[in-house]
Structure formats: C-alpha cells, structure tokens
Symmetry: C2
C-alpha cells in the first residue's frame, strides 16, 4: 500500500497487523496460552477472534447478557435500565430500529475489512444529504426557517466565489500565483459559484427551483438567492465543513439490518468462549499469570478464573471502580479520563413525512437548537413507518438530555423537532432514548482526551500492567469509532503474541 | 406545497397533475375512450397506467419484446443487435448487471412517487464519493496521478479560503458587507478551508493521511498539500461543481435489482394491454379518431388498429421515418432535433479491486481521458465480483465509442482505465457495451435542444396533431431523465382527458 501515499493518503490499516498464525506456536506452547478477555464488545471479541485463529485458548467475561457493548441496536422489546433505575422498553414496530451507539462506517476504517471477512452485508449510510435542512434560531433574518443544505451551499459558494473572482487579479492578493494561474482560478470560481458572465452571483438552479422544471411548457422558475449578509448572520454556512472531516466524507456505510450485525457476526465465530452475566470484581496479577474474580448475575455467586494474560476492554469509568493490581500511575490515569456525555432518541412515526412531504430520503438536518441534529433513517426508503433520531446530543454547551426524565427528553425533542417538521405531533407514535453516561457497564460515550491527557495519561494506559493489557476505542486515536476498538485489539493481540513467542521474556508481576 | 417555496425550492410535481378519475366519465363515455399508445417505455406505460385508472381503454404497441425502452438493465444473456448488425450477448454472472440507460434518481423527481406507488424498492446510488479519483492527462505536474476527490477538494477549499480571508477586510472588495459580516465571513473561511490561526492553508487531515490514525501510539501523519498552482494547472477542481447540479445533488437512488424494476412494475399494472413485436408503419388521422398501421415481427404481417386518440412516445430519430399525417412544420420539427450520442460499457471483474485495494465503495472517478468516467457499482458492496461502468461517453468533443467495433471499445476503455486501476488487466472477465445512437427503436440517448430549437421546434412538438399527442422525455425540460417521460405523459393524459370531458370539442382532423 506504500505507493498509495501518492494518492493523498494511504489506506493501509494504520499499523501493519501481523495476525498470529497457528504455525507460529511451538510445541512448548502448542495450545497457545490462556487469555482472559474482559468485555464482549468489539475490542474484546476482535481480540478473541484473532487469537483464536492461532489456537489461543480465550475466555471472555461479559457482564451483560448480550455482546456488542456500545454497538447496540434498539428494536421491539429492547429494554434498558439506567444507573439511576429509570427503565424503558422499546415499542418500535417489528423491522424498525435505531443504532444507539456507532451508526456509520467510513470507507477507510478497518471495520469494513471485518465486515467483508465476517460476511456482514453493507448499505449506504446517508450522512450528507443536500435536501436535508439547516435551521437556526436567533440568527438574523433567516432565523426559524428550514433551508435546504444544498440551497445554503449554492448561495454561499456563489457569493464567496464572486468576492474572490473580483479581486483575484488584484496585486492586493500578493499570492504566488502567476497570471495564468489567476486566469484558471477565475474560471474555476465562475464554475464553483455558477457566476454570471460579469462574475456576479445572481442565483442558480443549483439552489433549487421555485417551480420545478417539468413536461411541456414548464422550464422551471428559480427563486432569488438569500443575501450574503443574511446567510452570514444565520451561521448556517459554518456547519458545511462538518461533512468535510475525513471520518465523515461520503460514502459512509451501515450493516443491513442494524449495526449489531457486526458483534453478532463476531459472536458466531466464538462458540463457547463467552460467559454472559459475569461482573468483574477483581483483576489480579499472579506469579506468572492473571486471576480474575467475577460475580455471576444468575446466582450472585463469586467465581474466579485464571489465565496467562488478560485483555481488559472495560470502559475506564467502569474500570476505575474495579479492584485491580495496577500501579498508582495507572489507577490515576484510569480515574482521570473524561468520557463523552452523549445520547440519542429514536422517534417512531406513523408515516415517513420527511420522505413524502419534504423529499428527504436519509441524511441529517442540522440546527443550533439543543437537539443538534435530526437523522432520517437510511433504510426502508418509501415504506410507511420510520424511526428517526430526534436528537444526537453531545452534552457540551447544551442541555444534557441524560439529566432529564424519559418523558422530558421526549417532550423537549418533539417540541424542537416540530419547529422543523410540524408533522411531528400528528405522526408521533413512540420513542426510546439512550444516555450513554447513564448506562451501566459504559457510563459514557467514548474517551475524550485533552491534549495534556494524551501526553500524561494516554501513554500509561497503553503500557501493559504485567500480563494485563487494556484495549478498546479509548486506547486509540479513533476514539468513539468501532475502528478504534478493532485497531487497539489488533495491537494488543500482536503484543501478547510477541511475548508468547519470546519464551521467558514475560514481564514480572506488578503492583 | 406552496409554502415550501420558502425552503429555497418547491418540491411539488412540476405541474399539479389531476389524475383522471373513473367518476369523471359520464354515461356518454362510461368506458372512457380507446387510446392507442405507441411505445411501452416509461412515458407510454405511465400514460396507460393513469388513463387505465379512470377506465380508459388503452392499447400499447411496442416494437420490442420487452418494456422499458431506454430504461434497460443488461444482465446475463441480454442480447442486442446494433443497427449496423453488430450483435452481442451479455456474459455477466447471475446477479451482476448494468443499467445501460437511466441509472440514478434524484429525490425531487416524480419518478420516486411512482416507485412508492408501484412498490419499487430503492437503495442509494452513490453518485458523489470523496474517495473516488480525479485523473488528468496533459495537465501539469499532477498529470497521470489518481488523486482522491476529497483531497483535491480539501486543498482547493484551503487555498481559496486563504486567498479571500487575507483580503476580506480590504476595501478592495468593495462589497456591501458590514464589518460584522466580514468578521463572520473570515470565521467561516477559516472553517471552510481548515486554515491555521494566521489564516494560511498548511494542509489538513480532511485531505487524508499519509499514515492513518489507529490504535496505541499512532496519531496518524498528514501529507503536504499540493501547491495551489499544481492544482490549478491540473484542472481537477473544475470537475467539482459537477456534483452541484440540482439533478445530481446527494442523495440519489436506484431500484434494488436494476433500473428496469420500474418498467416491470408498470407492466404488471397493464395486463393484456401491450402488444409486443409491433413495429409502427403509419400514423393516420381519421374523421374522428386515429388509425395505426403496424407490422408484427412474429409473422411479418401488416395489421392496423383504430382508436379515439393516439399517444406517440416514439423517439424522434425513429418517428421521422414513420409515415404520419402530420403537418409539414411538425414533420420538420421531428426531423430537426438532435439526439445525444451516448453510451456505456460494463466491465465484469473477477474481484472488486476498487473496494479491496482502493477503498472505493460506489461513486464515480472523473478523468479528461475520453472514457470520461468510471462508475463503481452501488450494489453488492464487499462481494467478490462486480460490474463497473468503464466509460460514460457523451460523444461531443470526444471519441464516439459507438463508431468503434465492440473489441475496439473494450480495448480502448480497458487501456485508459488501467492507467487509473492497473488491476484491470489481471481482473477483467467480460464486457457489454451500449451505443444508444446505434440501437434500433432509439437511435439516440435523449433529445438535445438548442436554445433556438426550444423557440422554434419545441412548441410545435408539444401541440397535438389532431388526436395524436407526442409524449416522452423529449417533450419535457427534463430530457434524459425518466422524470421527463413521466411528467410529459401526465400532461398528455390531462390534455386528452380534458378533451374527452369537453364533448364535441375535439379538434378536427389535420394533414
């Protein structure tokens, strides 16, 4: 893949991963070693899957009665009890679902490679849809109007291109461009902004039509553009670059039938390896291995299991309350990392009014109201009912929906959404809301490292504690993405396998 | 939908269409009238479908043994003989296909409404994919390099934003913007271009990474941006606005299983109405009706059928050679309209190297070579084999692939494509190429009206000749789109229905 560097970026997996092979293992360790893995989320199962290929004996302890962790698809009958005791059960119709955790996969993520290897069928996740809306409050003359993203982009490109085209030849630019470059730039700006021959922006069919072109004598009529000043005051254009992030550029993908098709496919590869309902109580180092104490939810009994190594994928907010033989710096690092307060609400509606009335099939509406976003479903297009995401809330500088009661979350999001889609009230059926920082065994959306955290704590968290290795999205530069969990698992698998191949080079007990 | 005008554009069907209702018809014409429709493409079947709802007695004459016309999905065993006698049979594997004609549906087209009404399942057509490439020849330092569209866009936005940000506050702009507006503009440009604090563009993770971020100690490394001058000379940026057209803005859609699911769904609504293998020979006006003479391919016999009205959807290059009772101005108009020389080639490959090696799932690569574009399939992601479109050729200012032999088309497109995807030679299996101007009963891609054609000929073509009405994409401002055929059919249906409801107001015989 080296050569692909030329293409603007390499698309090799971040680090070449040499998957352990059965042939690697000598007679001395022909059954590999026994690896105790804590957590049957993406990282834990990916580690067991890769180690298993080489003949390692893996055991996974999972506190829940399901795999996937934050990769969680809410369907009819899904129940959840938040740590404060608030309980809800999904009333979605059969076939309707929401991906409460990860919901989109970029093309360059290793996640795609696992989907291919495990036979997980993909479809497009419509992340960027020019037909979805911007809606701003307290933002000048365009306040409280829903405006198509494509319309805002066309007008913005038009005015920006006009401004630059008019001065492009002026020395005031003091740019290194040659006269020929500047001619090419001006020609480009004319196309980019759809400018008239005098390089002014007078509107464009790109922004949409007042009356659409059609058959017979209907050429279509174009609306006047918004004024540049109106647009600038609206702030809508500041949301455009949200789609430019390398993690969010089109196309993006989702598994057909729900994101949990990925953990389900991994689980299928791990028969008899996962113990469900096993709450980890202690993580101990022994002379030449590890000892894990856990409580079984079924009978409340305390049990223990020993192994040669431990891979701990437990999220840090949960891990910090588990007694473990970790060094003080490690314990301090685990305590110190902040996790995202984030959540979503799924609204089931009787009819897909966003498709029928607004002609929006998939995509995301963006607003400065605290619901932040409305996600239209990327599956079941043109069918009758649908589940959309009524808010995707990050907590920072916004109301923490997790602090509200279930009915308050629903009422607040319905009220705000109805300003964009008045059909809300008539079409609403039921909702299911998830606040990750209120969910047992997670207590947060994803690790949020500050620059100083990355300097002081992140290196410590990445160092094994004797034979215990931490893995998960929080041990990656792709926090909040499944790819972070996969990449982290692959690194820990490589490290342990290297240790095993270096006889007697296992680090001694710590803490 | 009026109010939607506020949204930047209305999304009502171009013209409100009042579908004929059974209750409209009085005793006098309780069986409606007999309508002879020429052509079982989108326009012809849509007209029969809408008239049939009201109880009209429709008969469709179709020269081919299939419906759909230019809406044509090529699959295993599909055969075609071009007008010069060149014959080919598709060797695509089962499940592989190419949409030889229309291949994408925008959200605002009436086509979507028919898909909903007829139960045609949709999936996303990946029209805009930032991971697909630009590839230019003879275009300066970046010639003969495939560069991700997202990379070109990021660098272009960076430099353009930098240029404008540096002069935004200068009076030289002489723009109507206030000081506050200009501050907002500068803040926007900083986001739009991902500029550094001194408002210069130094590259951005948006363009992609040299080494991707991953697990553990892999923050990822970013490549240097291309120089602005290199980019301008490459001309790649001039292709960016191709995605801005209102007809091509994301999201776009395609029927699951091939575009011909639309004609198949219409056909299902028209049992016993379509006569296949019927080549129209004459279109005659009678005292109070129409008489159509046709030859049946089965036995070569000449037959005729009479009716009250005729809807003729035959493409103009074919219609001009059919003897018809048309006025001279009409005959002249029919003769005078140019049709697009356009075609596609489908390449079946053993492996989806574009997905596995290039991480491109769907989308279009754009080049200044005469293949113009490479379309990656928007279905069957992550599966093994795939059919991509090796060229999409419009004829103008380019080699007309239709003038080449089948083997020349294949060789030329393989050779050019291999410059972007060297895997072509190793992975190629077979091809099927379509040149619409060489295909009997079409003889062109779509009507191409010049501004003067629209003034002088288009109005004549839209006027009924006695009881004969023309319909099809060529009678719309959406030429080349299925929506043009649907909208035109709806207008002609409305016109005929109005005539029928106005007893005795039927125009007299012409020609």
């Amino acid at each position: 893949m080296e050569s692909l560097g030329l293409l603007g970026h390499s698309l090799a997996s971040a680090k070449e991963f040499n998957a352990p092979k059965r042939s690697d293992l000598t007679m001395a360790n022909k059954n590999g070693k026994k690896i105790i893995i804590l957590g049957a989320g993406i990282a834990g199962m990916a580690a067991a899957y890769e180690l298993g290929k080489a003949g390692y004996n893996c055991k996974i302890l999972e506190a829940r009665d399901r795999t996937g962790g934050r990769n969680w698809t809410v369907r009819q009958g899904t129940t959840e009890t938040e740590i404060n005791g608030v309980k809800q059960t999904s009333k979605f119709d059969k076939g309707q679902y929401m991906n409460a955790g990860p919901a989109r996969i970029p093309q360059h993520h290793v996640t795609l490679d696992y989907c291919r290897e495990l036979g997980v069928e993909l479809e497009v996740f419509a992340n960027s849809n020019e037909f979805s809306y911007y809606y701003q409050e307290n933002a000048g003359p365009l306040s409280n109007q829903k405006i198509r993203k494509g319309t805002v982009k066309s007008d913005t490109r038009g005015y920006v291109s006009e401004l630059l085209a008019k001065v492009a030849d002026k020395t005031s630019l003091d740019s290194p461009l040659t006269k020929d470059d500047i001619e090419k730039l001006t020609a480009y700006l004319k196309r980019e902004g759809d400018l008239s021959t005098d390089y002014t922006y007078k509107g464009s069919s790109r922004r949409g039509y007042k009356e659409l072109p059609g058959g017979g004598h209907q050429p279509g009529t174009i609306d006047q553009p918004y004024s540049f000043s109106e647009l600038l005051q609206s702030g809508m254009m500041n949301n455009i670059s949200g789609d430019y992030s390398f993690q969010q550029q089109p196309m993006m993908f989702q598994p057909v039938g729900g994101m949990d098709q990925i953990p389900k496919a991994l689980e299928k590869q791990l028969p008899g390896i996962i113990t469900f309902g096993a709450e980890v109580q202690e993580i101990r180092q022994t002379a030449n291995g590890v000892r894990i104490v856990y409580k079984t939810k079924a009978d409340g009994k305390t049990k223990e299991i020993t192994g040669d190594y431990c891979i701990c994928t437990i999220p840090l907010p949960v891990l910090k309350n588990i007694s473990a033989d970790f060094t003080e710096p490690m314990k301090n690092a685990i305590r110190s990392i902040n996790y995202a307060k984030t959540g979503k609400i799924g609204f089931q509606f009787k009819n897909r009014f966003w498709e029928q009335d607004d002609r929006i099939l998939g995509g995301i509406t963006t607003t400065n109201m605290d619901i932040s976003q409305i996600w239209y479903p990327s599956y079941g297009y043109l069918s009758q009912k649908g589940v959309l995401i009524g808010y995707y809330n990050f907590g920072q500088n916004a109301v923490d929906y997790g602090d509200l009661s279930l009915s308050q979350r629903q009422a607040r999001a319905l009220n705000q959404g109805a300003k964009i889609h008045p059909q809300y009230s008539k079409e609403f059926e039921n909702s299911f809301s998830v606040a990750w920082h209120k969910i047992k065994y997670n207590e947060g959306g994803w690790a949020e490292y500050s620059a100083s955290d990355l300097k002081s704590y992140y290196p410590i968290l990445n160092e094994p504690q004797g034979r215990v290795h931490l893995a998960g999205e929080h041990l990656s530069y792709l926090t909040g993405w499944m790819a972070g969990a996969f990449e982290s698992a692959r690194i820990v698998v490589s490290r342990i396998h290297e240790d095993v191949l270096k006889e007697g080079k296992v680090p001694s007990k710590v803490g």
